[in-house]
Symmetry: C3
Subunit: 337 residues, 3 copies
């Protein structure tokens, strides 16, 4: 691996940023404001960390113009320092080589199609009538079942499963252990036994989506489970059958959406939060961590449930009172005495 | 794939249903009441959707007798339309071919037994003394360790792991990423370090169980972890060591049962709900989503914990008061003034 | 498999225990106090089970000295019977053979290093510049990416993924489906689209750690995600990027720690509990199941959130009052009437 190196001025030119101080400083990697050294670039976005700036050893710091006043070092000036940092950091990201071609161990059905410039790793199996498009990467140990599409430029990092009827758009990234297109959980009780309801739909994933490690997205019962473009799912998320998630929505780890719920665009779902089945959540809704959505949300805004953390002894006392809350409330005077 | 086609009359005959209207209508697939076309069959089970019936383009609709009165189209009459639909829909389910035989890439221990009509997919490994019975399917990428049994007619869709001492009954289905038989989480603190308690038991899964994607079921410490027949587990569920789950119980996604708990028969455990270790939950208990069972349940019925979702500002105000609840309660007059 | 057999006296000698009664009794396996037979060894640690002692058919029982008074059978006397049992039980644990050597199907990059006495199973892939040290076991279906280290004596049971820049210490055990080193969930909103923030760090796992099935540990954004020595993670846990977890901390199934949080040493995190990002939790903190840590914890102790389980009808009444809690509190008299 060659070490890349860029001057501050070259980075400013490349990403349309301003330069404050000495543009000839060379950047060879990135670091945190607290720990970066003379050949490293750091960033200051959150005002909370402004105090670290004076002591930072970073050769270059990306920051807002206002923060650069009086800064003695080299700064790159950006309206959004975090986004600018993200773009610059990508220059220093070591990327594994995924050359075009099919690993000799791969088991590919005769009816599947693989683009000439796609990469198919070791121990990959691809089922009947599936298609891997131009420039796509299917990492080691992935299983692609029947009637799937891996869109152009998409990347299945490793050990991803697309069960059946999963169609990925362009530039979709899926992390290891994710399972898309497994049977939705559709059951009918029939004379004391469960009867499976066939899950005939598929999964459709929009362009530029990202799906985290060990996340599961079930296929639809009759119609499809659908993610709009640029939806971002963290790890260990569960998406039930026939869910739809609007474009640009991001969900944090361990959250879950039950069957047939519809989530809007630009929503932020916190970690381990849940949405019950068949509900609708409108655009631009924020759900805080571990909250449970039990009825549809029609207004944008931030929503929460749960109780605050307490020392266990206090919690026991207060939680016991929760069981009496209705009775207590009936005894509270209507107006302040 | 040939497109199957059945007349309404043929479906009625096959599944013991009544016919209302023209029995000669041909059904080539299934759809939703709202979206189905002339060659499709839909169903009406939930009265909430009765309003969609008049406008439905479905060629045939499965419904209760009472709903068919005055219906101008073709109906199939069933006491339980959803179950009847499930059976009919299965006729239209595309099923991947899993012909008998062992994929040449499979790595099978010399002491393992595989039935002649079982299907073993690509990149499957099977350990010492394990047995795959008649008609079973072991999809691509599965790992079966030592001393396991895959019962007759069972199906491991893909990338399932049976670690060791896992015995599946007949017709068990397991979805990708599930891990059965990993070490239970048994630890003893010993002079400031954790000591592993050997997990010598196994996992026993009853006939007709279904295990969702990325669900984990640990093996027992001394005795076995046991699921009765027809237990249905959704995705991302965690079952601790030595748990027993009674027949016909269904658990929704992301729920969890801690070690040595006993869950009864015909229970319904909601999404992300939890049951603490060593508790007993009797038959026919319903736990709503994200509730936590902290003591044994001796009476059938529906149980819940948690607080309702609110806009974040209201939630903060109310949640802060939860910390004062015991103190508040002490100040509430004993009887209404 | 030969059946091992040890006399009580031999076990006492080996593990430094006292003998009460007949030391010549032979032990061939272990069992529970309730179910063990004459050739089995059981243990009594929890006083709650003392009542089972008189009726136990166990040939030998490990117990505290005080419990052995008046016990007619053979006892092994230990200060900590559970830890002593754990050590004895390990003698009876069937362990799969994992002989040194590389399975012919494995796909190992030319620049990777594998110790001569390491075991590499079927369908394993190992990427560029990765190293598997002495005595390590990499079970079937594992994927090891670029620049990883599997430390001496470590064991990846099966189907584990180390994505990139993951360094395991010595004697680390990882269960199937775990994914270490996937991209942290780092996003910047940029003109209405999400922009990925490159995740340039790695994951460092201390000696003697254990990582459960389907657990995920993301790699750091700039610096590393770090687990100290002897950290024990159960199944289905999510550890965000740049988290640090102190030595000897144990986390139960389905718990989660969001990005950049710091957890202390000797903490116990209950099942499905969560810690929000950027918080600090000091040493020796216990978090009960399904609690959410929303601010830093500076004092050792036990902490909880949530409400108690109730029958659903009572819960609905009380939960509805939670929405009025602040208003109610304002109407409660300041002092008791």
């Amino acid at each position: 691996m060659n070490m890349p190196s860029y001057t501050a001025a070259a980075l400013a030119e490349r990403f349309g940023l301003g330069v404050h101080g000495d543009g000839s400083v060379a950047v060879e990697s990135v670091g945190t404001l607290a720990a970066a050294g003379a050949s490293q670039l750091a960033f200051l976005a959150n005002p909370k960390y402004r105090g670290q700036l004076a002591d930072s050893g970073a050769g270059v710091v990306v920051m807002r113009e206002a923060d650069a006043e009086g800064f003695a070092g080299t700064a790159l000036i950006a309206a959004d320092p975090y986004a600018a940092f993200a773009r610059i950091a990508a220059l220093f990201e070591p990327r594994p080589e995924r050359p075009p071609g099919v690993h000799p161990s791969a088991a590919i059905d005769a009816t599947a199609e693989v683009a000439a410039d796609a990469h198919i790793g070791a121990f990959v199996s691809i089922g009947a009538r599936s298609r891997v498009e131009a420039g796509a990467v299917v990492g080691p140990g992935c299983v692609i079942g029947e009637d799937c599409v891996v869109g152009a430029g998409s990347e299945l990092i490793a050990r991803v499963t697309l069960v059946t009827r999963v169609r990925l758009g362009h530039r979709v990234r899926i992390h290891p252990g994710a399972v898309l297109g497994a049977d939705g959980f559709g059951l009918a009780m029939d004379n004391g036994h469960w009867l499976n309801v066939p899950q005939l739909g598929g999964v459709v994933i929009g362009d530029d989506c990202e799906i985290g490690a060990n996340t599961t997205i079930d296929r639809g019962a009759i119609e499809d489970t659908v993610l709009g473009e640029d939806v971002r799912l963290d790890n260990q998320i569960q998406i039930g059958h026939n869910v739809t998630i609007g474009a640009h929505t991001a969900m944090a780890g361990c959250s879950a959406v039950a069957g047939s719920a519809k989530i809007g665009r630009y929503c932020l779902i916190g970690g381990a939060a849940g949405v019950l089945g068949h509900l609708e959540v409108c655009d631009r809704v924020v759900i805080t961590a571990m909250s449970l959505v039990t009825s549809s949300i029609r207004e944008p805004g931030e929503y929460s449930s749960g109780t605050p953390l307490m020392d266990n002894r206090s919690w026991r006392r207060n939680a016991a009172r929760f069981k009496q809350l209705d009775a207590l409330a009936r005894r509270v005077p209507r107006a302040e005495p």
